[in-house]
Subunit: 87 residues, 2 copies
């Protein structure tokens, strides 16, 4: 599945969230990641994030589609990342 | 079409970007909007944003799909907004 992930977390938890997201996705904007995952990888990622954040304060939204071909992406202004940025 | 819009703009331009996005979409996270637009509305929105931002510094990414049914959305933690937040 194709996954877009947007996070809005407290500064002290950002490094953990970033590190977790980078294991699965590539970064396309300061707080946005995207990539293709299996259903199992997606569950691993969301499970890891659930334990990393404070659910009373932080927010992570994922958008998923069955394939990347179902979603078009357009950047206005600075293009901050792409598939080449996978770490 | 269904539109997800994520912005990362300088603080001084945030109010203009916010106001422009709110005319067309509803906010789902601090810097994320979503909603259904016609192709004409989408062009109006991206055109207005193109003139509002500094393309050397700011970044706006849109993800579009033909219908909202093609994308699933999941929130972990705080749910910051929804269709009820349309202003």
């Amino acid at each position: 599945m194709f996954v877009i992930l947007v996070y809005d977390t407290a500064a002290e938890r950002n490094p953990t969230v970033l590190m977790t997201c980078r294991r699965y996705l590539h970064r396309t904007q300061r707080s946005v990641f995207q990539g293709e995952l299996t259903a199992a990888q997606y569950r691993e990622l969301t499970s890891a994030l659930s334990t990393a954040i404070d659910p009373e304060y932080d927010s992570i939204v994922t958008y998923t589609a069955r394939s990347p071909g179902m979603i078009d992406s357009t950047t206005i202004g600075v293009h901050l990342g792409g598939p080449g940025d996978i770490l």
